[in-house]
Amino acid sequence: MATGLGAPLAWVGRSALEISAGFGRFGVFTARAVRALADVGTWGRQLIVQMARLGVDSIPIALFIAAFTGIVLALQASYTFTGAVPLYFVGVLVAKTMILELGPVLTGLALAGRVGANIAAELGTMRVTEQIDALETLAYDPLAYLVVPRVLAGVVMFPIVVAFADAIGIAAGWITSLYLLDLSTPEFMRGVRLFFDPFDVRYSLIKATSFGLVVTAIGCFFGYTVSGGAAAVGRATTRAVVVGSMLILVLDAFWAATLL
């Protein structure tokens, strides 16, 4: 047992070892999932089911968040620009902010909660109730059956959900400008077009794709590797949301630094 100065050092050492072991486990898990990609017959059918569950079912919450974000952006822009900047700049701010940042990031964070938690809880429960073992005894590769379709569904569906969110956010900003800010449609659209670059949309979708990858992969990893009982499933679910959300913010900064 370390005492005095040794205790914190021992704690740092233990933590470093645990983190390294975690990265190692994630590496092995990823390698096995990549190998399972070849088993198309197993994950092919599940992909459609997961695209509906993780993507289509997430659209209402994403649109809800995007709509209110668009409203607030328009109102805050008008409040900020009063007198100094022409009001049609509301369109610039709403469109740019929705597409470049708030559309993908807020949707990503919401889906880290909804999708990441859902996956971790479902796979974790399957693990502790031996359903994953049962799959193996029935000659299935559980990674091909459970992990690959969820991760692929995230990669495919997150950009679609974010594209809807971007559009609804801008539409909400436009309606707000129309009815609460006395801005006409041509004026709002003038602002939207002013600094619009098609690259912005690509940037938004690239971010969304990467968020889809990390949220689903992290959810699958924490759920699949659960050991213990209900408490362990709860911990895995929390971790999936926390780590998924943190990685979204890290990736957000990464893409801003590398692509803008």
Partner: protein, 249 residues
């Protein structure tokens, strides 16, 4: 057609669970593996089918060394081995028919009609005709175990591994499950290894009974032989006599 365990060892951290287990389950026989809670019976069963990898030793099924099999070979072997889980491990989101047909979907060339027939046949064998469209949450504990058994036998396996098939059931349902295990042996001619705590079941279904104790097989013999054994650990276990355990230690 046999299952052979040769000096299987398995530890979790510092805890040695299996310390050189050797056992043979011969073709067509039913061996019942008994032992105290936490003695490693379920670990042993999972080691046989490759869900847990032993630290050393070998599991040989039908001449195939499980630890040396490639992924495809292991999948092929698993199609020949039915596994009945302690708590059934049914897929919650699927109906009974989907659960039972899950393994059958891995068989190439099986049509939907053939698959439905095989599911119905398996459910008939466990006396659950007409339960196809129910969900696991709509079943009693005994029915869930029977669906778990149906899922295992739907593949028409050569081997059946049962993990505590009667634990937590009332005496009548226990007897029903025991009867089904005997029926599987008679009608399907499978080679079975049954893990249980329940001595009544063990006597009823076992051709031989093996006691796992302290990571090793302490005793193996027929029901008559185990009843006649003067080994204190065996007598303590089968008689439920903790005082004999104190003396044995």
């Amino acid at each position: 057609m046999s299952i052979v365990l040769e000096g299987v060892r398995k530890s979790f951290g510092d805890r040695v669970v299996l310390d050189g287990v050797s056992l043979e389950v011969r073709e067509g026989e039913t061996v019942v593996l008994i032992g105290f809670s936490g003695s490693g019976k379920s670990v042993l069963l999972k080691t046989i089918i490759g869900l847990i990898h032993p630290d050393s030793g070998e599991v040989v099924i039908d001449g195939r060394r499980v630890g040396s099999l490639r992924r495809e070979e292991l999948h092929a072997l698993r199609r020949e081995v039915g596994y009945v889980f302690q708590f059934a491990a049914l897929f919650d989101s699927m109906t009974v028919a989907e659960n039972v047909g899950m393994g059958l979907r891995r068989i190439r060339g099986l049509t939907e009609v053939q698959l439905r027939d095989r599911v119905a046949e398996a459910l008939h064998l466990v006396e659950l005709d007409g339960y196809e469209d129910r969900y696991p949450s709509q079943l009693s504990g005994g029915q869930r175990k029977r669906v778990g058994l149906a899922r295992a036998i739907a593949m028409r396996p050569k081997y059946l591994l049962y993990d505590e098939p009667t634990t937590g059931l009332d005496p009548v349902t226990k007897a029903v499950i025991d009867r089904l295990i005997l029926k599987m042996d008679r009608e399907l001619g499978v080679t079975s290894l049954v893990v249980t705590h329940d001595m009544e079941s063990a006597y009823r279904i076992g051709d031989r009974i093996a006691l796992l104790y302290d990571g090793r097989i302490r005793f193996v013999g027929t029901p008559a032989e185990i009843r006649a054994s003067d080994d204190r650990v065996v007598r303590a276990f089968i008689g439920g006599l903790p005082e004999l355990m104190q003396e044995a230690l």
